[in-house]
């Protein structure tokens, strides 16, 4: 067997196909999405430049209402992100410190609201925050105020509503990263002489940054495109971009301009996502290094 026949010409099989039998199974799904999702998006983009013309984008860039709305949208998204971070980080921290059942309870409280319809939760906030709403009723009854506080129909209402909805998206990524951090690091730092606050700032915080970043990115991006909550809890006078789009199309029937605004929102969303993923590896940030999240 040492000196076998030399390498003769063997019948070599044809090159492996690009797509095999299993691969073909993706076709129905991809095809369906192409038709039901991408075609509508494309159609909208076409509409934005054809109804009546690409001048729509000029209108978008020049009309003060539109510009103000875009700025406001960014402001609100940023505000909500910050509030979620301030409230969500400690929650994630406690979840990480908690054992067994308490961890589940904390997680459930944050995740469960995700499962009641977002419209219902926003409606609930209107019930609480309106002038004749529960909060104002309570405050007046105990004579803390004489007149109802404007708790909705403004940025405050929007912020409150959106924060409640966005919290899970901040808490879960941070928790996922905290979970992976070696549990001995903080005690080690303290044994080396660091006071608790210093240990946190110098050890835990930097290590949890990927999760923080992922959470912030997630909350920010989703907040940009939000409609229901700003529409119900915000004001018509300072609309977010999504409200503007709905107004232009459903109320004023300016499909061209509405589409242009939608395209702008789409581009901005993708730009933010692209920028964000430049800085952080997503899979690590969302904790996919290990098995399930909480």
């Amino acid at each position: 067997m040492i000196d076998g026949p030399g390498p003769a010409a063997l019948p070599v099989r044809a090159r492996a196909h690009l797509v095999d039998g299993w691969g073909l199974l993706t076709l129905p799904g991809v095809g369906f999405l192409a038709l039901a999702f991408f075609v509508p998006l494309a159609g909208m983009m076409v509409r934005s430049v054809s109804d009546p013309s690409p001048a729509n984008y000029l209108a978008v860039a020049e009309t003060p209402v539109f510009l103000r709305s875009m700025l406001y949208t960014f402001e609100v998204a940023l505000l909500v992100t910050l509030i979620c971070l301030v409230l969500g980080y400690p929650w994630a921290y406690l979840m990480n410190q908690a054992a067994g059942r308490w961890r589940w309870v904390l997680a459930a409280m944050v995740v469960l609201p995700l499962w009641s319809s977002l419209l219902v939760r926003t409606y609930a906030w209107t019930v609480l925050l309106r002038d004749s709403g529960v909060v104002n009723q309570l405050l007046e009854r105990i004579h803390l105020i004489g007149q109802p506080l404007p708790l909705m129909g403004n940025t405050l209402g929007v912020a409150i509503g959106m924060t409640q909805l966005m919290l899970p998206f901040m808490v879960l990524p941070i928790f996922a990263v905290l979970r992976q951090i070696d549990v001995d690091l903080l005690p080690a730092a303290e044994s080396l002489g660091a006071r608790p606050l210093a240990a946190f700032v110098r050890v835990l915080w930097p290590l949890s940054l990927p999760g923080v970043f992922a959470g912030c990115l997630l909350v920010f991006v989703v907040s940009l495109g939000f409609f229901i909550t700003p529409a119900l809890l915000g004001s018509g006078r300072s609309p977010m971009l999504s409200q503007l789009i709905v107004e232009q199309t459903n109320v004023l029937f300016h499909f061209g301009v509405g589409s242009a605004l939608a395209v702008v929102l789409l581009i901005v969303t993708f730009a933010v996502i692209w920028l964000g993923t430049r800085f952080v590896p997503w899979t690590q940030a969302l904790g996919y290094g290990e098995s399930d999240r909480a």
Partner: protein
């Protein structure tokens, strides 16, 4: 061969399997390189080799789970190279058993019969029969997770033979078991396959396992078959240095072959040893080429060549220092340093040992030159280190000591 009267009753006529120049490459790596092999009906053939040598890939190609890039698989005269796996009627026992967790042991075993449309009464009968064969009667209603490793093994085996395949493939099935269980299962598998009379292709990296169970063994290395033969052929007449080192222990003496004036001699740095003329004419070795002489431990004797009773000069003799001596119950094993990193291994039956062979003592080793096998020297095969040189180990220690302590 081991064709059985079929205790299992009415078997498909077991037939031959032929692999013709099968090749498979993954990217730049050739996993199976021009492999040809013939397996006779009823034979138990083992594919043996280190990890990554291509034996498992070859097995999977035979199974139809992997498509070869080139070559043919011929079964019972039919070319099955392009036949899909589910039509090949070949039983496979996987390394991790691959038992269906959502089915009981009996349902697992019944699966191939169900798929073939066998009636349920006959299914029950055959499942019970095969459970009895693998000694798991009564455990049919357990789920895989309720069974021990050895029991899962046997369910996997039962499932693979219940539909009377003409060929049974086994991919390192005993790897996950502990030593005692493994040895017991080796006997079981050999017994069952003999009773059933099925042709078996077995993959393992454990040469003792291969020797214990097989009719013939094919040694794989880097995707090629180095040698095929019975255990005895491979052990006594290895065709290459790799085979010599892989199968059991050996003493390797490297040198240059010289065939001047009809004599065959291998010249090393510190010795010249003679080899039998037949050994000299082996394929691949020529005068002047670098060769290695392989001698098995039980063929070496400690002691000088029986000079006076060896007029024909049938014995070789080299000298060295004893490094280690081990009492192994039935044999005494010696590791001897021959200088230049070469080591000799000698196994002597207890009761026939030499009178004096103390550690660090000088000895001579001799052997009948017909027991030296000549193979081409292969620089890739590292000389096995059987024992540390006690003296050099000591020098290192004292040397270190001298550095630390003050002179």
């Amino acid at each position: 061969m081991r064709r059985a009267p079929g205790g299992f009753g009415g078997f498909n006529e077991p037939a031959a399997l032929t692999l013709e120049r099968v090749t498979k490459a993954y990217g730049g790596l050739t996993a199976v390189d021009d492999v040809s092999l013939e397996v006779r009906a009823g034979e138990f053939v083992t594919l043996l080799g280190p990890s990554g040598s291509g034996k498992t890939t070859t097995l999977r190609i035979v199974a139809g789970l992997v498509r070869a890039d080139a070559g043919r698989i011929v079964a019972r005269g039919n070319d099955i190279t392009n036949m899909p796996a589910y039509r090949r009627d070949i039983g496979i026992v996987f390394q991790n058993y691959a038992l269906f967790p959502h089915m009981t042991a009996a349902q697992n075993i019944a699966f191939p019969l169900k798929v073939r449309g066998v009636t349920s009464t006959e299914i029950d009968a055959r499942v019970q029969a095969v459970l009895h064969l693998v000694r798991l009667s009564g455990l049919g209603d357990r789920f895989p997770r309720q069974l021990s490793g050895g029991q899962q093994q046997r369910v996997a085996l039962a499932r693979a033979i219940v539909f009377r395949p003409w060929l049974l493939l086994m991919d390192e099935p005993l790897g996950a078991l502990d030593k005692k269980l493994r040895e017991a299962m080796q006997l079981e598998i050999a017994r069952i396959s003999r009773e059933v009379g099925v042709t078996v292709l077995y993959v393992t990296h454990d040469q003792e396992e291969a020797l214990a169970m097989s009719d013939r063994i094919a040694i794989f290395r880097h995707g090629r078959v180095e040698q095929v033969g019975t255990g005895e052929e491979l052990y006594e007449q290895p065709a290459s240095l790799f085979v010599g080192q892989f199968m059991g222990e050996s003493t390797v003496l490297r040198g240059v072959l010289q065939t001047a004036s009809g004599d065959c001699v291998v010249a090393g740095a510190r010795w010249r040893i003679r080899v039998a003329p037949e050994a000299c004419r082996r394929v691949g070795v020529r005068s002047g080429s670098r060769v290695a002489v392989v001698v098995r431990p039980e063929r070496l004797r400690i002691g000088p060549a029986p000079g006076r009773s060896d007029p024909g000069g049938r014995f070789n003799c080299v000298s060295g220092t004893v490094l280690e001596q081990m009492y192994l119950g039935s044999v005494r094993k010696y590791v001897i340093d021959l200088g230049d990193g070469d080591q000799a291994i000698v196994r002597a039956q207890v009761g026939t040992e030499p009178p004096t062979a103390p550690v660090r003592g000088s000895v001579q080793i001799s052997w009948d030159l017909s027991h030296g096998v000549v193979v081409a020297d292969d620089r890739e095969v590292e000389p096995a280190v059987h024992a540390q040189d006690a003296r050099s180990a000591q020098t290192e220690a004292t040397g270190a000591g001298r550095v630390v302590g003050a002179p």
